[in-house]
């Protein structure tokens, strides 16, 4: 029995340990490390929802930053007080000026508005293939940015909106993230998801089998935009400052990169990719400040971490083309399977876990040897 097949093991690694991590995070909210974990949570939503479009449906959208922007501004409009809105968004209609909604509701509205935008842009552009769609979605970002920067009376223009209340707690970020992952997981493993995958793999064949391409594409795009809108809302309330330049092409590029690194055909890939792309740059940061020895500062090399990251990115995609997780769903499979949670009450799981751990050194040695021998003889 391999360790990773043990449900109890999965429960510990993928559920209990992360849960402990999250509890610790929420107890230290406001600290630097919690900030990173929050960012990680929001990245999961963004990347997982992008994977639905780019990985499972075979389209290639780069427009996530635009949906984030719409979500963030929508949720700002619904959570700021009337006093703030008079100052920042004087042209809002009266009813909106005095409307303040609870945060979860504003997130839903943010998602809906992002979806509506996706619908408007989706009709014309989803017919485009491959790179044409990518360009059109980059166009969407540019258009949204132009509106945000120039409609001073509604968005406060390039000055941006400040003072968003700090509603994005660990609890709400990760509730949304888990919920999104769950919805996506169920969608992908339903007949709807199989239709999407069929469309990705061979759209002519899918069409002959009765898959309606237009509705499929559009619906996947809308769902994805909805989640990106919610993530944008969360992001805004985490940062408390939003402005057009933060939702620009580079933001989208980063999400796409993360998606490819983790593996865009896998929701677990979204989790792994987000973890790497959120935490690794922070680990590299000390390299840049140079080392201080008795007050003597050694040369500082700003940009070094970006360069290392870029080189690492190229290496990762060369050696694992499908991203780190490829097509595997080990994390989400464990998270959303009843087996995992029931294993807590199954004695045989405990004994097999113990056995797997005890035999781990032996088995890894054997598998290493097998591979080495196998490679030597070019067999297997």
């Amino acid at each position: 029995m391999r360790l990773r097949d043990n449900h109890l093991f999965r429960l510990i690694i993928f559920v209990i340990l992360p849960l402990i991590g999250l509890i610790v995070t929420s107890m230290n909210s406001g600290s630097y490390y919690s900030g990173l974990v929050h960012l990680f949570g929001i990245n999961i939503i963004l990347v997982a929802s992008l994977n639905l479009v780019n990985g499972y449906s075979g389209m290639f959208s780069m427009g996530h930053a635009a949906f984030m922007a719409i979500g963030a501004y929508a949720s700002a409009m619904l959570t700021l007080t009337a006093d703030q809105k008079v100052f920042l968004m004087p042209a809002l209609p009266d009813w909106l000026m005095h409307l303040t909604l609870p945060f979860p509701v504003t997130l839903l509205v943010a998602g809906v508005l992002a979806s509506v935008t996706a619908l408007l842009i989706g009709f014309p552009v989803l017919r485009f293939k491959g790179h044409y769609l990518s360009v059109a979605t980059i166009g969407l970002i540019v258009i949204v940015r132009a509106v945000l920067d120039n409609e001073d009376q509604i968005t406060n223009g390039a000055r941006g909106v400040t003072g968003l209340p700090d509603y994005a707690s660990t609890g709400i970020i990760f509730s949304v993230a888990i919920l999104c992952l769950f919805v996506l997981y169920r969608l992908i493993h339903s007949s709807y998801g199989r239709g999407l995958i069929a469309m990705r793999d061979d759209w002519t064949a899918a069409q002959t089998l009765g898959v309606n391409l237009t509705t499929k594409k559009l619906s996947a795009f809308l769902i994805s935009a909805f989640m990106a809108g919610m993530a944008g809302g969360l992001w805004g309330h985490m940062q408390s400052v939003i402005s057009g330049k933060f939702f620009y092409i580079d933001t989208s590029f980063k999400i796409v990169e993360t998606s490819i690194i983790g593996g865009m055909f896998s929701l677990s890939g979204a989790i792994v990719g987000s973890a790497l792309m959120t935490f690794i740059p922070e680990l590299l940061a000390p390299l840049e400040t140079g080392i201080t020895l008795f007050g003597v500062q050694l040369p500082e090399l700003y940009g070094a971490s970006n360069m290392i990251l870029a080189a690492a990115l190229i290496l990762i995609i060369i050696f694992r083309r499908q991203g780190i997780m490829g097509y595997s769903e080990i994390i989400t499979d464990s998270l959303f399977s009843r087996e995992t949670y029931l294993s807590l009450f199954r004695p045989d799981q405990y004994s097999s876990l113990a056995k797997a751990i005890v035999t781990l050194p032996v088995r890894s040695w054997q598998s290493l040897k097998a591979r080495w021998v196998g490679q030597k003889h070019k067999s297997l």
Partner: protein
């Protein structure tokens, strides 16, 4: 609004368009063969321009020699990128190579920033190139005229190479079907290397033209023109050289006419307008103005 005013804005558009067109040809020639959106194209431009600046200011080399060296430099960088970041991924999906080109772009930008500092620097061409000719109130520099002519000449030469020579035939074959071309005995790597040599040299030249026109350079300068030129290539029909040039001019003219003729309240929507035009054109002609029917393989 008199005719001369519209005409002057039209000339402004052609001036901008010829720079876009120049960059777009480079994009297109690589895309045509590899189906690779090379986001690092703009940064290769930057590398070339910094090469010229360093050679002229530090080593005092004459301009023509520096330009030659910058073309060589651009080709070297382009080929290194091809060998290390694109070739190992050739069998992978278009999305994967796209991300790898983004990584190359980030790498080059940060490298340039480390070596040359992020400060913008002045970039001057000799007096005889920046001399302003006055055509009935419309002023154009010698460089503007050279750029415009260069775009046309390069288009003609490349079209001839692709249509009439053996190399060109190999390039077209690879563009149509890479696997079949390999079976027919075409050395794919050679063809790709040639495409990158042409693309990178064009990047070097367009960098020179961009920097000469705007007189400043900075490590991030390649990105925005790169993106716009990419749109131009898509607008015209990516993969088609004539399309790239046409797309560049259409984009430049549309941008300038919008900025010049619309009321100033809506001119900040200039970039948005460019993309609206792009989307509208693609709706009518899904593969761009001059795109072939099968267009981009999806």
């Amino acid at each position: 609004m008199d005719t001369l005013y519209v005409l002057s804005q039209l000339v402004n558009g052609l001036k901008l368009g010829s720079v876009y067109a120049m960059v777009a040809i480079g994009y297109s020639i690589v895309y045509g063969i590899l189906r690779l959106i090379n986001f690092a194209h703009g940064d290769i431009m930057t590398v070339a321009v910094y090469t010229i600046l360093s050679l002229v200011t530090i080593f005092g080399l004459p301009l023509w020699m520096s330009i030659g060296a910058s073309v060589v430099m651009a080709v070297v960088v382009g080929l290194i990128a091809e060998r290390t970041a694109y070739r190992p991924l050739r069998a992978a999906g278009e999305e994967t190579t796209l991300v790898s080109s983004l990584a190359v772009s980030i790498f080059l930008q940060n490298l340039m920033m480390m070596i040359f500092s992020p400060q913008r620097k002045a970039f001057h061409l000799p007096e005889n190139l920046t001399f302003l000719h006055n055509f009935n109130g419309i002023r154009l520099s010698t460089m503007n005229i050279i750029t415009f002519i260069a775009v046309i000449v390069i288009l003609v030469i490349l079209t001839f190479v692709i249509k009439r020579t053996r190399v060109g035939m190999a390039m077209r074959a690879c563009s149509d079907n890479m696997d079949a071309s390999r079976l027919m005995g075409i050395n794919i790597n050679h063809v790709v290397v040639i495409a990158f040599i042409i693309g990178s040299s064009l990047a070097a030249l367009s960098g020179l033209m961009l920097a000469g026109e705007y007189k400043t350079i900075d490590p991030m300068m390649g990105f925005v023109p790169g993106l716009k030129a990419f749109c131009a290539a898509v607008l015209g029909g990516i993969g088609s050289l004539g399309g790239a040039v046409l797309g560049g001019f259409v984009l430049g003219v549309a941008e300038m006419l919008f900025a010049g003729l619309m009321p100033t309240e809506i001119t900040p929507y200039r970039d948005a307008f460019v993309f609206v035009v792009l989307i509208l054109v693609l709706m009518v002609r899904p593969n761009g103005i001059l795109g072939s029917r099968e267009g981009g393989r999806s």
